[in-house]
Amino acid sequence: MDGVRSRPIWAFLTGPYALFLLFLLLVPFANVAMYSLHPYSPTKVFLPELTLDNYRKIFDLYYVRLFGRTLRLGLITTAVCVVLGYPLAYFLARARPRVQALGLFLLIMPLMVSAVIRIFGWIVILGRKGLVNQTLVALGLEPIKLLYSETAVVIGLVNIFVPFMVLPIMASIERVPPNLEEAAQNLGANWYRMFRRVILPLSLPGLISGCLLVYSLSISAFVTPALMGNARERMAGQQIYDEVLVSFNWPSASSLALTLVLLTIALMFGALFATRHASRRDIAS
């Protein structure tokens, strides 16, 4: 009875958001999928016949290298985020409430500043006469070219995405009661062994969701590689942007964009499957 009566209210409340998603996400996405199946035309955007050429082209050396570079930089960014983020997450999860509040504030605050502004900061630090090179010259060393390289892109991406790694890991470490750590150490485990057998396995879900977030965000990044990288070693986001707005090859850009989305989705399912598998094995043993 109650369910029947509340249904119109439910539709009324969720309806606007559902319509919003339908018209501003699904319809444009379907449109992109449609473009990707038509040949490019310089005068009419696309020709009416259907083709798979846009996808075949992705196996050209140039595009294979583009995706290879994108996935590789995403992997490096994720790895650096784990190395920097895990200790930070552990520290915050076990810190006194006041230290934790301050630490979280310092972690979240940069998210409220536009990526462009933080990249300007990096340009000042990494530039030809920037802070790093000034220091190197003062120490009597040769200045190095840092900005507009893959290294700079990774630095920028790590800077922007590290909070997305820390927050899920911190949440899962917080759920591990501290007396589990004490029990393990009382029973004779040293810190390293305790970490490997207690904290690491129990924080694995947070670690995996952090890695997925950072990886999928960094392979689809556009602003950071565009401002801190160079045009020869570009990432997929820059290529898509150029094909949409510079060469106006919308069918090709659409096929690249869909490939990127499919790669991300495949990755998500792969990780989901891997965690299911891992937890089942844990229960079995």
Binding site: I9, W10, A11, F12, L13, T14, G15, P16, Y17, A18, F20, V83, L84, G85, P87, L88, Y90, F91, A93, R94, A95, L106, L107, M109, P110, V113, I117, R118, I119, F120, G121, W122, I123, V124, I125, G127, G130, L131, I155, V158, N159, V162, P163, P178, N179, E181, E182, W191
Partner: protein, 88 residues
């Protein structure tokens, strides 16, 4: 007494925060510097660039007439859509 993270982790924590906050500190410091180019550390302290911001019609319009208005509208719309979807 609850468990704390072990001390050897502290360098990583400090390092992560330095990396996270360095660009912000640099941008704020550079905004008070007298130079036209990005220069860090700045050679002096001046409010010249803040004056220039408020004196520029283009910047004032972009910030007060466009960015602020768009931001408020986006926040209102997101709150209404998000809250109703979460309730429903």
């Amino acid at each position: 007494m609850s468990a704390r993270a072990p001390r050897p982790l502290l360098p990583f924590v400090v390092g992560a925060y330095v990396g996270l906050l360095a660009p912000l500190v640099v941008v704020v410091a550079v905004s008070f510097g007298p130079s036209v180019a990005f220069e860090f550390p700045p050679r002096g302290v001046t409010l010249h660039w803040f004056e220039a911001f408020f004196a520029s019609q283009a910047f004032v319009t972009a910030f007060f007439r466009v960015s602020l208005v768009v931001g408020v509208l986006a926040a209102v719309l997101a709150t209404v859509l998000g809250t109703s979807a979460a309730l429903g």
